[in-house]
C-alpha cells in the first residue's frame, strides 16, 4: 500500500447533466498524491464521466474541480492543455492513434512536449515498452495488436511522459482473467515505479482487491460508499453487498 500525500485532486459538489439525465448529483471527493483510488459502480453511474470531468474533457454543469491547486472548471480548451499533461489517461479501448505505430504512439507525448528525436528519447520509449512487455512490437500498427496488447501499449503512452497521476478507465474490461491480472500487476508496478497517483474505474472486483488503497462506490450519481477494500468486502450495506457479489435483484 502506498503512503498518500497532500490532496492532488479535490472535487466539491460536482454536478453533471447530459440532456435530461442527471449523471452526477453532487460528488465530493479528495484524491491524495500517491494513493490508488478505485471507483466502482454500475453501468451509467457516471464513473467515466467523472474521469473526463477531472481531465477537463467535458464541462461540469456545476461544482468545483481543483487539480494541483488550480480550479479547472474556469479554464478554456487551450488553458487546459498544460493541466492535462499532469495526468495520463488510459481510455477504455486504448484510443491509440491508428495511423501511428506502437512506438510512434508512445513517442507522441514526448514529441508534443518538445523533446527532439534522440538516443535518449528512443531509450525511454524502449524502456517503457519493455516495462509493458511490448519491446518487440514497437513497429506494429495498433490494428495488428490484441485487445490486451492495445491496452498495454496505451498504458505505455500514458506513462512515458511521467505524469503525476494516471486515470484508468475500465482497464480490464473485455479481457480474459489472465490478461486482466497482468494489467492489474502493471498498474501496481507503474504506481510503485513512477510514484504516481492512480484512479481506476472498474467493475472487476479482482482489480479492486489487487489495486486499491481506497474504494468509492458510485450509485445514482452520488458516492454511496467510501472506504478501504477490506471495509468494502466486509460491508453489511445491502446495496454494496449486492454490487460486490454481483447478484441481480429478482424483481429487476
Amino acid at each position: 500500500m502506498s503512503t498518500a500525500g497532500p490532496p492532488f485532486i479535490s472535487v466539491r459538489n460536482l454536478h453533471k447533466q447530459i440532456g435530461d439525465q442527471q449523471i452526477l448529483r453532487g460528488i465530493n471527493l479528495t484524491i491524495r498524491e500517491g494513493e490508488n483510488l478505485v471507483i466502482i459502480g454500475g453501468s451509467g453511474t457516471g464513473k467515466s464521466v467523472f474521469l473526463k470531468l477531472v481531465m477537463g474533457l467535458i464541462p461540469a454543469t456545476s461544482g468545483s474541480i481543483i487539480v494541483d491547486n488550480t480550479e479547472i472548471t474556469t479554464l478554456n480548451e487551450r488553458q487546459l492543455g498544460p493541466h492535462r499533461r499532469k495526468i495520463g489517461m488510459l481510455f477504455q479501448d486504448g484510443a491509440l492513434f491508428d495511423s501511428l505505430t506502437v512506438a510512434e504512439n508512445v513517442a507522441f507525448p514526448l514529441r508534443e512536449s518538445g523533446m527532439k528525436d534522440s538516443p535518449d528519447m528512443h531509450s525511454r520509449i524502449h524502456e517503457v515498452l519493455a516495462a509493458v512487455g511490448l519491446a518487440d512490437h514497437g513497429h506494429k500498427l495498433p490494428a495488428a495488436l490484441s485487445g490486451g496488447m492495445r491496452k498495454r501499449a496505451a498504458l505505455a503512452r500514458a506513462v512515458v511522459s511521467r505524469p503525476r497521476c494516471i486515470f484508468y478507465d475500465e482497464p480490464t474490461a473485455g479481457l480474459d482473467p489472465i490478461v486482466s491480472d497482468s494489467i492489474d500487476r502493471l498498474i501496481r508496478r507503474t504506481q510503485l515505479h513512477y510514484r504516481c497517483t492512480s484512479v481506476v474505474v472498474t467493475h472487476d472486483m479482482r482489480s479492486v482487491r489487487s489495486v486499491a488503497d481506497r474504494v468509492v462506490y458510485f450509485r445514482e450519481g452520488l458516492i454511496h460508499f467510501e472506504g478501504s477494500p477490506d471495509q468494502l468486502f466486509s460491508s453489511t450495506d445491502p446495496l454494496v453487498r449486492q454490487f460486490v457479489e454481483g447478484h441481480c435483484d429478482e424483481d429487476e
Binding site: K52, M55, L57, E77, R78, L80, G81, P82, H83, R84, R85, I87, G88, M89, F91, Q92, D93, A95, L96, F97, D98, F108, P109, E112, S113
Partner: protein
C-alpha cells in the same frame, strides 16, 4: 401556419448555428496557424495524401473536361466558320471556371470524404479525446496541417488540371478535327494570359478553405459511432460541394471585377 413558422425558425437557427460553428473553427484555425507550433511532419503526410494522391483524379478530370468541351465547341464553331477560336474559348473556360470548379468538386468528394471519415472515426474511438488528454488541441494537430497542405496543393492541382484540359483540347481540335495549329495557337494566346490562370488558382484557395473547414467540422462533430461517421462523411461531401458551387458564383463576380477578361 404556426407549424410552418416553427419549421422555418428551426431551419434558420440550425443555419446560424452551423455557420457560427464554422466561424469558431476558423478562429481556432487562425490561432493554430499563427500562435501554435506547426506540425510540419503532419503537413508533409497530408501533402502526400492530398497532392500526390489526387494526381490521377485531377489529370483525368482536366483532360476529359478539356477534350469534351473542345469537341462540343468545335461542332458549333465549325458551323459558324470559327474553328480556330476553339482553343481560346476552351482555355478561357478551363482557367476561369471548369478547371477550378470541377477539380474542387472532385477534391471535395475524395479529400473531403477522407477528412471527415478519418477525423470522425478518431472522434468515435476516443482518439480525439486522447489527443486532448495529452494536452494537444485537436485543431492544432488535425485541422491546421490539413489546411496548410490543402493551401499548398489546391492551386497547383487546379493549375495541373487546367494544363491537362488545354492539352487535351488541343489534341482534339488539332489532332482530330484538323484545326490549323497556327490559327489555334494564335487565338489561344490572344484570348488567354497568365491572369486567367491566377484567376483559377485564386478560386482554388477559397475552395481549399471550404473543403477543409467543412469536412473537418463534420468529422469533429460526429456522434453515434459508425452510423454517425457515415452520416458525417456524406454530409461533408454534400455541404462542401454545395458551398463550392455557391461560392463559385460570388467568386466569379468578384474576381471578374478584379481581373476582367482581357479584350482581344
Amino acid at each position: 401556419m404556426s407549424t410552418f413558422l416553427s419549421w422555418l425558425g428551426g431551419l434558420v437557427l440550425r443555419f446560424v448555428s452551423y455557420f457560427g460553428a464554422l466561424a469558431v473553427l476558423t478562429g481556432e484555425l487562425t490561432y493554430s496557424l499563427f500562435r501554435s507550433r506547426i506540425r510540419w511532419a503532419e503537413v508533409g503526410r497530408q501533402l502526400v495524401s492530398i497532392g500526390f494522391g489526387s494526381q490521377i483524379q485531377v489529370i483525368v478530370t482536366g483532360a476529359a473536361t478539356g477534350a469534351v468541351f473542345a469537341a462540343q465547341v468545335y461542332y458549333k464553331f465549325n458551323q459558324l466558320g470559327l474553328d480556330s477560336l476553339v482553343g481560346g474559348i476552351v482555355a478561357l473556360a478551363m482557367c476561369r471556371e471548369l478547371g477550378p470548379v470541377l477539380t474542387a468538386l472532385m477534391l471535395a468528394g475524395r479529400i473531403g470524404a477522407t477528412m471527415a471519415a478519418e477525423i470522425g472515426t478518431m472522434k468515435v474511438t476516443e482518439q480525439v479525446d486522447a489527443l486532448r488528454s495529452l494536452g494537444v488541441h485537436p485543431v492544432d494537430y488535425l485541422v491546421a496541417p490539413r489546411f496548410l497542405a490543402m493551401l499548398f496543393s489546391v492551386p497547383l492541382l487546379i493549375g495541373e488540371s487546367i494544363r491537362f484540359g488545354i492539352g487535351a483540347a488541343r489534341l482534339m481540335a488539332v489532332g482530330v478535327y484538323n484545326v490549323p495549329e497556327a490559327f489555334y495557337n494564335d487565338q489561344l494566346y490572344k484570348n488567354v494570359d497568365h491572369i486567367d490562370v491566377i484567376f483559377g488558382m485564386t478560386k482554388g484557395l477559397a475552395y481549399g478553405y471550404i473543403i477543409v473547414i467543412m469536412a473537418c467540422h463534420q468529422g469533429l462533430t460526429v456522434r453515434q459511432g459508425a452510423v454517425g461517421v457515415g452520416r458525417g462523411t456524406t454530409a461533408a461531401v454534400f455541404y462542401t460541394s454545395m458551398a463550392i458551387l455557391i461560392a463559385n458564383f460570388f467568386l466569379s463576380l468578384l474576381l471578374n471585377y478584379i481581373w476582367p477578361i482581357a479584350a482581344t
